[in-house]
Symmetry: none
DNA sequence: ACATTCGGGACCACCCGTTCCT
DNA sequence: AGGAACGGGTGGTCCCGAATGT
């Protein structure tokens, strides 16, 4: 293996490992409670590499992790929303998928962005911006699906916001109450609206 | 002032000062980023008194603060919801009040419970429970107003959950985007539903 | 029961409980590692009473506990040493008793004075003095027994010091090594000397 | 100075400074009364470095300090014991050296291990083990000298234990009584035995 | 270029021994 | 005699540079 290739792959895997581990820990514990040492230990990557890949330190690392989580979930949302021609069915599947993930993780994994977004809204412009971008991408996916279902442009924007807000809020309530009930209630209401 | 009164007020004020300061800091910064030293300094109360009033430490203090914030906001919600016979107007005023608070604080003060609830959902049963109680009390207030507006019992429960979730979610989006738009979008959609 | 009597007995029992609990904790953990809160909790006596009975605080309480332990062990030593006309047998029984106590407590209870004496030798004249008195009383008991066995006065003093020092040192070694071997080795050597 | 040398010396000096300072403070004050802040301040090394060199915290630091003290004193014992062909003279010099150190330090510096050994015997297996190793190394040095002086193997083991225990105990008594008398008494008795 | 050791303080939550006032 | 309150200090860990290999 040529040195350049090994170097590139090593670089990529270290960086990726940091981002992946960080995203996972941020989702479960939030920003302030997640320690850099913890990230380093769990990722398996060498500690000295962290400030090479992320000179901005914890903040840059978290922003990258939030962005990555945003992109990933945006893809999942688009995939689910396009899985049915029926709007209500599509939205129902979206809520179901989130509910399943929440239950599977014993209420540990809700929205991968919301906790950090709330924590850092007034503390880090960089992370806030990454979170805002993630939310915007999800909103865009929802709005596109609503437009495809026949909504007018302004109505689609409002409804997309309602859907995302209701889901985000339901995830908050569900984690606090350790119950899927808020998600299923919101699901019912959203389905009723879609008809 | 008689000694007993001074003692009583002093006793009460220390504890109250801790709770009030904690609630304020938790709302803005979340649980992990809020230091006990910061709470002590800002509250003006003596440090040694903290573990007298809250032997359970930070966790107990936070749970008390979340509970207090829950009770206070529950009162405000009930008050606003009963300020108009028209359901849509009542809900609109509720969203307006939250939006005004958010704007007045430069997007620092969203939901006083949500951030901490997400952070501690898997870390502290005590705080999670306090947050769940707060949410439940707000849900109850909303549901009562919906029943008064003619909703059937099960429909009222679902709709109350949708309203609270949508508002909570809109507050998350609004803080992340530094914009009141999500709140006004959700407000419009909720009003349309109320008609 | 007249008030004075009740008060006196209550006072005495609180005081005694403090001293007894303190002596036990000092023996196991030493001075610095023993917390006043721990003493209060374990003794069952009210915390506010501590500074009534011991205005000198932790130091006075510890000195009292060391003195009490010294008196108690002096009595035990005298009793054991007078249990046999044979000097070797008497000394053997003394070592055996200490070894039994050490083993019964899983090497937690060695000399009730030595740990605190070493810790506070340069920190508290009051406690050091109490410990010195305890050692002196034990030396006196040993010396008296040696005189009774026919030792000359100066030889008795030296031999008593050797015996006490060897036992104290063996207790140190035994606790560090979690073994009774040092005690039995010393016992053998001391017996050989007594013949 | 070349970079490598400076680095090596700097690296070594921080760790060494911690160990040396800790050993000194532990000898005088014991384990529980010795604060990490005190160690850091007196050593002159930065606090952040402490947990790099000693991830195990205070316990690991103390165990290292005890081990180092054990090794150092073992060397001194061997050196003194081999300074004379006469066993009695060799043992006398050993006691004299310890007595001189005690007096020079105003009874602050007795055995560098005994205090911590007693304090932590039941609290920290790690420190207890380090102390046991130190005692074992001293015992081995004594036993070797006794074998060289013609003792049989089992007799040498017992006598070595007696000598070490008597010295350790005499140091305890000497510090408590602020007098060298126990050491000189024990010295006389030990010399008589050696003849 | 890339990785890592090592160093650097600030700060954390917690609890201490003490005293005040009843 | 005693419950409430008090500051200061505990050990521990944080996130992060700077110096040093490889």
């Amino acid at each position: 293996m040529p040195p350049a290739a090994r170097s590139a792959s090593s670089r990529a895997s270290s960086r990726e490992a940091f981002v992946r581990t960080t995203a996972s820990l941020l989702r479960r514990r939030g920003y302030a409670a997640t320690g850099l040492n913890e990230i380093v230990a769990e990722s398996g990557a060498p500690k000295g590499s962290l400030y090479f890949h992320f000179p901005g330190g914890k903040e840059e690392l978290a922003a990258s992790a939030i962005s990555a989580a945003g992109v990933q979930l945006a893809g999942a949302i688009e995939s689910i929303l396009s899985s049915s021609d029926d709007l209500g069915e599509a939205l129902g599947r979206l809520v179901d998928a989130l509910a399943a993930g929440l239950q599977a993780s014993a209420y540990a994994e809700g929205c991968p962005v919301a906790t950090v977004a709330l924590e850092t809204a007034c503390e880090s412009e960089r992370i806030r911006s990454a979170a805002a971008d993630a939310f915007a991408s999800w909103l865009a996916a929802l709005r596109a699906r609503l437009l495809a279902a026949g909504f007018e442009r302004e109505a689609a924007t409002r409804r997309a916001t309602l859907v995302l807000a209701a889901i985000e809020g339901a995830l908050v309530l569900a984690r606090a109450q350790r119950s899927l009930q808020p998600l299923s209630d919101v699901r019912e209401e959203l389905l009723a609206l879609a008809r």
